[in-house]
Amino acid sequence: MATDRSIRIRALLAAGMVFGLGAVGTLAAWTDESTATATFSAGTLDLKLGTAPEGPFTDSMALTSLDMASMYPGASKAGMISVSNSGTVPLAYALAGTASGDLGAALTVSVFAGGAATNNASTGSCSGTLLGTADLPLAEALISSGRSLPAAGTESLCLLVKLPATAANSLQGATTTATFTFTGSMGS
C-alpha cells in the first residue's frame, strides 16, 4: 500500500539516479580539470612526408636533397621537405632529430617554414621564416611546441644542416645518417 512515507522515501531514492549519474561525470571532474568540454573525434591521424608540396607522400623517406658528401667546418646544406596531414583531423606536429656518432652530435639544424632552399658549392641557405632557434644540435627536439596542420593540409619546411666551424679535428672522414622524425598528435 502506497503510504505518504513510502512515496516520499521512494521519490527520494529515485532522486538518487540524478545523483548517481551526476557522480559519473563529477568524479572525473574532481581528478582532472584540464579540459572543460567533451568533444569526440572519430577521425584518423596520418602524418606523411614528401619532397615536393604536391607529393607523393610517404611514411618514411630519404631526403636525398639534404645529403652532403664532403662536409667540412662551416659547410652547410639546405633541403626542402613537405609535411602533410593526410588524416581527417587537425593535428599538431613536433620534429626531433637523431644522428649517430660524433659527427651526428656535431651537426646543427635550423628549421625554416616555407621559402626555398638554395645551395652553392658547400653553403646552403633557406629563404623561409626561421622557426625557433637557429643552429640547434641536430640530435634533439627541433620543433617542440606543436605546429598545427589542418586536415588535408600541407606545409613546406626548409632544413639547413651545418657543420659548425668549431667541429673537432677528429671528425674528418666521419659519416652519419640523420633521421628527422615528425610526430603528429591530435588536440594537445
Binding site: A2, D4, I7, R10, L12, A14, A15, G16, M17, V18, F19, G22, A23, V24, G25, T26, L27, A28, A29, D32, S34, T35, A36, A38, T39, F40, L45, D46, L47, S60, A62, D67, M68, S70, Y72, G87, V89, L91, A94, G104, V161, L163, A165, T166, A167, N169, Q172, G173, A174, T175, T177, A178, T179, F182, T183, G184, S185, M186, G187, S188
Partner: protein, 348 residues
C-alpha cells in the same frame, strides 16, 4: 491515505530501485577511488573505441604490469589513457612508456608516477551518454526530474491529501489515524506547513540544479592519437688531404720548398720543420693554391755542427681541422773551413 495511479506507483518503485543502485554504485566508486573516463579518440581502438566509457581504479606503481591500460596525466595536464609497453619500477615509482593500440609510436614522454589509474572496465558508446549528462540539456532535465520527485515527496496530492494538523507537527509519521481531512482553506497551520515544505523543496531542487551544474566541468579521459613519420639524410665529413710538398735546390746553398693545395676545402697552409722546430710559412692559401718558400741555409735556426737531415712538413688546415703532413727531407751541411765554405742545404 494517498493513492497513486498504478503506473506512477510502479514507475516510482522502479525509480527507487534504480536510484538505490546508483547511490550504492556511486558510494562504492568513491570508496574504491574509481574514476569514469570518457574516451575522446580512438587511439586505443579496436580495444576501446571512440566514445567508450571506461572505469579506472587507482593502483600502486609496483602493481602496474606491461599490457595494462592506464590513465595518466601528461606534463601538459592532458589525461592520456594508453597501454603500458615498458614499465620500470624503482623505489615505488614507475617509469612508464605508454602507447595507444592504434598508434604507430609510443607517447614521446615517459611518465614517472607512484600511482596510476588502471582501466578495469570499458564499454563502447556509453561515453557519449556520459558526455551528454554533462550538457546543459541534461542538467535541465536532471533538475526538472529532481524537482518533480521532490514535489511527489513533499507536495500536496490529488487535491485531497493534506498535511498534519498543527498539534501533530512533531510527528511526521504518525500513521494514517493521525491524519484528518481538514479543509485546507480553513487551516492556516496546514498552509504554513505547506509553504515551509515547498520552500524546502525549492531549496533542494535549486541545490540539485547547482550540483547538476557541477557536471558541466566533467572532463573526458583523453586518449591521444599519435602518428610518426621520418626522413633521413646522409652526411659525410670530408677528410683533408696533405698538400704536395716538393723540394728544389735554389742556387748553390739554399732550397725552395713548394706546397701545392690538394683540392680539399682547406683554407690555410703551414710549412714547418721538426728539428729545428720552426714554422717557416703559414697563412691563407693564395689563389692558385701554390706556396713557394726558399729556406736560407744561413738561417739562425740551423745550429747543427755536423751534416744533418732536416724534415720539412707541409700541412693544410681549415678551422680546427688539420690535414696529414707531406714531408720532404733536406740535408744541412754546416759551414766549414772557418767559414770559407758556407753552410749548405740540399734536397735529399
Amino acid at each position: 491515505m494517498t493513492k497513486l495511479p498504478p503506473l506512477q506507483n510502479n514507475l516510482l518503485t522502479l525509480g527507487a530501485v534504480l536510484g538505490t543502485l546508483c547511490l550504492l554504485a556511486a558510494l562504492a566508486g568513491m570508496m574504491l577511488g574509481a574514476k569514469p573516463l570518457i574516451f575522446r579518440t580512438g587511439s586505443m581502438a579496436p580495444a576501446i573505441a571512440t566514445g567508450s566509457l571506461g572505469v579506472s581504479v587507482p593502483v600502486e606503481a609496483r602493481e602496474i604490469k606491461t599490457g595494462d591500460v592506464v590513465s595518466v596525466e601528461n606534463s601538459a595536464g592532458v589525461r592520456i589513457t594508453h597501454r603500458v609497453v615498458v614499465s620500470d619500477v624503482a623505489d615505488g615509482a614507475a617509469t612508464l612508456t605508454l602507447k595507444g593500440d592504434a598508434n604507430t609510436v609510443p607517447d614521446p614522454e615517459p611518465y614517472v608516477l607512484k600511482k596510476a589509474d588502471r582501466v578495469v572496465f570499458s564499454a563502447p558508446l556509453l561515453g557519449y551518454g556520459v558526455a551528454w549528462l554533462s550538457s546543459p540539456a541534461a542538467m535541465f532535465v536532471g533538475g526538472l526530474f529532481t524537482a518533480y520527485l521532490l514535489y511527489v515527496a513533499f507536495g500536496p496530492r490529488h487535491g485531497k491529501r493534506r498535511a498534519l494538523p498543527p498539534k501533530d507537527a512533531g510527528s511526521d509519521n504518525g500513521g494514517e489515524s493521525g491524519y484528518k481531512e481538514p479543509d485546507r482553506q480553513q487551516n492556516p497551520g496546514s498552509k504554513a506547513r505547506h509553504s515551509v515544505k515547498r520552500m524546502a523543496a525549492t531549496l533542494v531542487a535549486s541545490l540539485a540544479l547547482v550540483a547538476a551544474g557541477a557536471l558541466h566541468i566533467s572532463s573526458p579521459g583523453y586518449a591521444a592519437f599519435l602518428d610518426s613519420t621520418s626522413a633521413s639524410a646522409n652526411f659525410t665529413a670530408t677528410a683533408l688531404r696533405a698538400p704536395t710538398l716538393s723540394c728544389t735546390n735554389s742556387g748553390l746553398n739554399d732550397v725552395t720548398l713548394t706546397l701545392t693545395h690538394s683540392g680539399d676545402p682547406a683554407t690555410f697552409h703551414e710549412l714547418v720543420s721538426g728539428t729545428p722546430a720552426k714554422t717557416w710559412s703559414s697563412g691563407a692559401w693564395p689563389a692558385g693554391g701554390l706556396v713557394s718558400y726558399t729556406v736560407d741555409a744561413d738561417d739562425k735556426s740551423f745550429i747543427f755542427s755536423q751534416t744533418t737531415s732536416v724534415t720539412f712538413s707541409g700541412l693544410s688546415k681549415i678551422s680546427l681541422w688539420t690535414s696529414p703532413a707531406s714531408t720532404s727531407l733536406v740535408t744541412y751541411t754546416p759551414k766549414a773551413a772557418l767559414g770559407l765554405i758556407p753552410a749548405k742545404l740540399r734536397c735529399a
